[in-house]
Symmetry: C2
Subunit: 136 residues, 2 copies
Amino acid sequence: MSRSKKAKAGPPEFRRSPCPVTSTLDIFGDKWTLIVVRDLLLGKRLYREFSESPEGIPTNILADRLKRLEAEGIVTREPYQQRPLRYAYQLTEKGEDLLAVLAEIARWANHYIPGTAKPPAVLVQRLAKVRKRRGW
Amino acid sequence: MSRSKKAKAGPPEFRRSPCPVTSTLDIFGDKWTLIVVRDLLLGKRLYREFSESPEGIPTNILADRLKRLEAEGIVTREPYQQRPLRYAYQLTEKGEDLLAVLAEIARWANHYIPGTAKPPAVLVQRLAKVRKRRGW
């Protein structure tokens, strides 16, 4: 694409297709990213807290996923300690709104995968707020 | 675990954790599986039809994902041609009910990823049926 065309900001370019499912999988299509989002929804903010989750996310994958989530505007980070420098992470509105997606996944899993845990009440309560904010 | 314990069918064993999100990612946590489910929801049934989707799923990945979806009870297949033997695939009820998950993903993507396509009307109409069947 020529430079002048780029400057015009033409139609968005998609990695694979404009399908909303495909575009979402280009961000979350792996075994770990939505687990980090789940932890953030549960109020975890620190690297150490994510690492301690029962799934045992490998450190290099955690670092990569947090970086990608930040690049996608789904999390922000700010320093909470200077020496050594450490960051606390939290969801943006775009990230918070994934709660509705995770809730639907949980509903499907609770129905079809025997023994899966119910989502914590705190998330169920927050879902109503997300739905209200979205106005959908 | 001892054989007698297995025979008693104790609590279900999870690959990583009983979290419903994690358990679902153990099935769908990749860039392709939900695209095949999307195609099935759109009425595609044949290997060739899945291959022709704009994302261009590689043949070996398609074969693997269909096999895994069948093992998970999400699709069934039956022969539609004998020489050479070819199968047609369709979603089970467990698979059909993923429509609600895909709908929520599409809603999030349409809101936050500029230019993503709206889901076809036929799927929006079917969603009401899925929700009714689930009784949720």
